[in-house]
Amino acid sequence: MTRFKIAKVAELQGHDERAWNIAWNPAKPLLASCSADKTVRLYHYDHATDSPDLRFTHNTTISTGHTKTVRAVAWSPSGLSLATASFDANVGIWEQEGGDEGEGPNAGEWECSSLLEGHETECKSVAYSSSGTLLASCSRDKTVWVWEVQPDVDFECLGVLMEHTQDVKCVAWHPHEEILASASYDDTIRLYIDDPSDDWFCFATLKGHESTVWCVSWSPDGRYLASSSDDKTVRIWKRVKEHSWESVLVLTGHERSVYSISWGVGKSNDDASLGWLASASGDGQVMVWELTKPSDSDTAPMSSTPPGHSIIARLEAAHGVYDVNAVAWCPRQGYENILATAGDDCSVRVWKVIPE
């Protein structure tokens, strides 16, 4: 098995307070970060001449107008809209003036095209569905909201899901179906679908974590869901029936809360690879696991056989002595081994996972 190392590509300073989250634009070379300083920073990247390495330059800073921490950022699949989730209870939708016409990093100002109000307390996460037609948000008010993205950046609330008994920390959409996952301070994960003749509803509750579930991330093929928790573990849940998911694997190694995970396709030579799963923790470590198809994946794709797993890379003190709050793989083709992290040291760092 190839061993990999996590090598630093860039260290992006500029936030004045804790950096909470990052999001890679799926269509353009742009990385967004958000912070307790209430701003969003956008970075452009390209290849320096005569160098294989990526070069990051600060593109713009959006003074969001949010009155409290910007906790999370998410791009629409088209890369034209950016959503912000703030402790001020609102979700902001940001678009660049002339952004759908022109290329170039300085096409226009980023402006708030919609402000989604409805949550009663801190909004903690926001996510676009794979088609870009739905948006989900969640809050300490225990609710998950599903919004329909209508033409002309109009948003209509399709449902308010009140399943969790506590603070909801994270929402994530399935990579190609309209299935929504939410993770909570109540230690559970809930899965939701739309009933075409009725409302959105919760069809599964995943129990197993022993404390707050901080983050959920789907496998690129959509057959697995990963979750990370204050119990220091990462769990892998497998689809065993159309609407049934089972815990099949527990990944250990972190020594404090695992705040964030990201499951990317990775850059593996193994045909059985299910991709690379990165995790970030309050212990300062970033870990990367490779997950592989179980031996019965062709004959019994929905068996409860766990996927194979191995740690392929591990980085201590990714942000010095500080907590690592978020980790995200670049989703763009050719950049499958590029990773960004956000830390309590106010910095955003970019890494590449390369053979040792």
């Binding site: 402790f87 300490r140 309050g282």
Partner: protein
């Protein structure tokens, strides 16, 4: 534990939060030993939100309830009564005090003494959820209350 080189004044633990000592946190790689008495000195004078007394006088905190390893501080405190509604506020005050005073390499965990509070699990969980703590510290009314609790601790010995 005596301070080494980087601190110019005689090493009183209080110097951790003197303004002129703000550079104490700059070098995050130098490991400076800190013991439970120094941690105790930082929190003993915090006031109870409902009493004029300090947490030490009310026996809410004590040195033996603090443990320190290289990069981790665990503070246990004892609410005055098992249904004390102020417990999360007391815990938050302790957390803010340590956040402002200790070098950033320390991970701080705060718990109520086992069996001392009827909502022990809920209080512990809230105090150790960094996101809940961060949001609480953006609430001006709460910050105001915490600052009042910390006033004496911050002025003591200055």
């Amino acid at each position: 534990a005596k301070a080494t080189g980087r601190r110019s004044k005689p090493s009183k633990p209080e110097s951790f939060w003197d303004d002129e000592e703000a550079d104490v946190e700059v070098d995050e790689n130098t490991v400076e030993p800190i013991d439970q008495d120094e941690i105790f000195d930082l929190i003993r004078h915090i006031s109870d939100p409902e009493h004029p007394n300090s947490l030490e006088e009310l026996r809410v905190v004590s040195a033996p309830q603090i443990s320190v390893s290289e990069n981790r501080v665990i503070v246990e405190f004892t609410p005055t009564v098992p249904h004390c509604g102020m417990s999360t506020l007391i815990g938050l005050s302790i957390r803010v005090r340590l956040m402002q005073s200790l070098p950033p390499r320390f991970k701080v965990d705060i718990f109520v003494k086992p069996g001392s509070h009827q909502s022990e699990h809920a209080v512990n969980k809230q105090l150790n959820d960094k996101e809940r703590v961060a949001a609480a510290l953006e609430n001006p009314a709460l910050v105001d209350t915490v600052e009042k609790c910390l006033e004496k601790a911050e002025s003591w010995g200055a």
